[in-house]
């Protein structure tokens, strides 16, 4: 999300409002069984999710999603760091990994039913399996992409291998890891729903499916809206966490957004021909240019 001012907030709300109003006008006119007006959907939403079904369906769904996601991130980062560091192991395991990664998790539902049964473990397994790959592969990329100079530096200062891994490689790979984790979050939410379509006895996806079975279309839509809000909220949360953890990265690659006191301090020594336009151009090109390697600072700008 862009760091925005109040005007931007207002602007961002205009399109959704227009869409909602447009839909409502059409729905009232068309009288389509499958597309009820907003007031009906809203009524169902309030009935179900404010807050009657929250403990019985929303919380179990979220708990499973978060459990699966946590497992995926933990395994993904650890395995990714191992595979990123040990070239031969990575090559040996590559075909297997590529195969497993290509399996769409929904096709594994029967397998997970067999292995784990119809309970929470099957769902958590499915979510973890699907969310694992972006984290794993991005971690491997992040580890491999660590600047050799910084590794040489660490070695030259006799920093022990374990510290190199945890204090140099891991932070350097963190931007890529976060990117993978973000994709994985979206996948986890999708699979949270998918995993509840078979062998479930509670959950948001389950509720939506039940509503569909019972031709309770407004309730079905209310659940769908809730899922959208859940996704939105988690993404916003993720971005906030990422911004704190990767403040250094955003600063060094110029992605900070509006100029702040920090970015103005970037130009330290008085330059002979420093005009406002030159500063603006410099800041803009800093914001636009991608970093050549993670964790590094393009030095051309610094002269």
């Amino acid at each position: 999300m862009i760091r925005a001012r109040l005007g931007d907030w207002a602007l961002a709300l205009v399109v959704p409002l227009l869409l909602l109003v447009g839909y409502d006008l059409w729905a009232r006119g068309a009288g389509d069984f499958f597309f009820p007006p907003l007031s009906v959907i809203g009524g169902n939403f309030a009935d179900d999710w404010l807050f009657e079904r929250v403990p019985t369906d929303l919380l179990p769904s979220l708990a499973r999603m978060l459990a699966g996601y946590a497992i995926a991130v933990a395994i993904g980062v650890v395995a990714g760091m191992v595979l990123g560091s040990l070239r031969t192991l990575a090559i040996a395991l590559d075909p297997v990994l590529q195969f497993l990664r290509a399996l769409p998790p929904p096709t594994l539902i029967p397998v997970s039913l067999l292995v784990f049964g119809a309970g929470d473990s099957a769902k958590i397994f499915l979510i973890a399996l699907g969310a694992l790959w972006p984290v794993l592969l991005n971690t491997v990329d992040g580890v491999r992409g660590v600047d050799p100079t910084v590794l040489d530096m660490a070695r030259s200062y006799r920093i022990p291998a374990r510290a190199r891994l945890l204090r140099v490689v891991l932070p350097a790979a963190l931007p890529r890891i976060f990117a993978g984790a973000r994709t994985a979050l979206a996948i986890a939410i999708i699979l949270m729903v998918v995993s509840e379509l078979v062998g479930a006895s509670n959950g948001v996806g389950h509720t939506v499916q039940l509503a569909q079975r019972g031709f309770n279309i407004p309730e079905m839509w209310a659940g769908t809206v809730l899922l959208g809000l859940v996704g939105f909220a988690f993404n916003a949360l993720f971005v906030a966490v990422e911004r704190r953890a990767l403040g250094w990265h955003h600063g060094s690659t110029g992605r900070g957004g509006a100029p702040t006191r920090r970015t103005r301090l970037r130009r330290e020594r008085p330059r002979p021909v420093l005009t406002p336009t030159r500063t603006a151009v410099a800041v803009e090109s800093a914001a636009a240019g991608p970093a050549p390697t993670e964790g590094s600072v393009p030095d051309a700008r610094r002269q």
Binding site: A172, G251, V297
Partner: protein, 254 residues
């Protein structure tokens, strides 16, 4: 202090050597510059000297002990300073980073960091991040990091090649000042002949594959000044001599 004997390095077996028969010594508290044209094997030499890669033949001794892997009393300052600093650490964090693995307590590390930053003129920038600093300042952070480490010998790989002339002049003088005050030995690699003559007491001219073609003593007055020293006729002479040595055809190499 540093004794390099017959050092050779061939990367691919049966291939061309990158370094062949490198031989020189550096005495304590000396400031020695190494010049060589591009591709003569300077990088290979430095990576062997710093213990990052093993040589194929020959030996390196630092203070009487053989070098097999990065030695304890040596600090390496890289050419590409921006990529050798950790972007997620502050300036002070970067400088103190190697210190905890040297066994210093937090207080000791903090004191050493403060001292080093003051020495390079960045005493008030401890809380900044590398990306907030200019190129010259970043290199000063790298030097501070090396200083705080309290090495006996400083290995520097064209450290001022990527800064502008003005900054370079400042950094050269800063380096000389630090060399004198902290009484360290410096081995400085550069392709800039002016810089080599200005800074050092002795210039080693490298030819390809990396070996010492000629050693030239720099008998300029000990006090160096950017303007005065470079005006001296002796400066010009030495400069020409180094240049000639660089350009001379090498019939001694393999």
């Amino acid at each position: 202090m540093l004794v390099v004997s017959d050092l050779s390095k061939t990367y691919a077996p049966g291939g061309e050597p990158a370094m062949a028969g490198l031989d020189f010594t550096v005495g304590e508290r000396e400031f020695v510059c190494i010049v060589g044209s591009s591709g003569c094997g300077k990088t290979t030499m430095l990576r062997c000297l710093s213990g990052l890669i093993p040589p194929t033949e020959g030996s390196i001794e630092l203070e009487g002990r053989a070098v097999q892997g990065p030695p304890e009393d040596m600090a390496y300052v890289f050419q590409d300073y921006s990529r050798s600093l950790l972007p997620w650490q502050t300036v002070a964090g970067n400088v103190s980073f190697p210190l905890k693995y040297k066994g210093l307590s937090k207080a000791e590390a903090a004191a050493a960091t403060e001292e080093a930053l003051a020495a390079v003129g960045l005493a008030d920038r401890g809380r900044s991040y590398p990306w907030q600093l200019s190129g010259g300042m970043q290199q000063r952070v790298a030097i501070a990091r090396a200083l705080a480490y309290k090495p006996r010998i400083l290995l520097m790989d064209e450290p001022f090649a990527s800064v502008d002339a003005q900054t370079r002049a400042e950094l050269e003088d800063l380096l000389l000042d630090i060399w004198r005050r902290f009484e360290i030995t410096v081995l400085f690699v550069t392709h800039d002949i002016d810089e080599a003559v200005y800074l050092s007491q002795r210039v080693l001219v490298l030819h390809k594959p990396a070996h010492v073609f000629e050693a030239i003593d720099v008998d300029l007055p000990a006090e160096r000044d950017q303007m005065d020293t470079k005006k001296l006729p002796r400066f010009g002479e030495l400069r020409s001599r180094v240049l000639a040595s660089l350009r001379a055809p090498d019939t001694t190499s393999a």
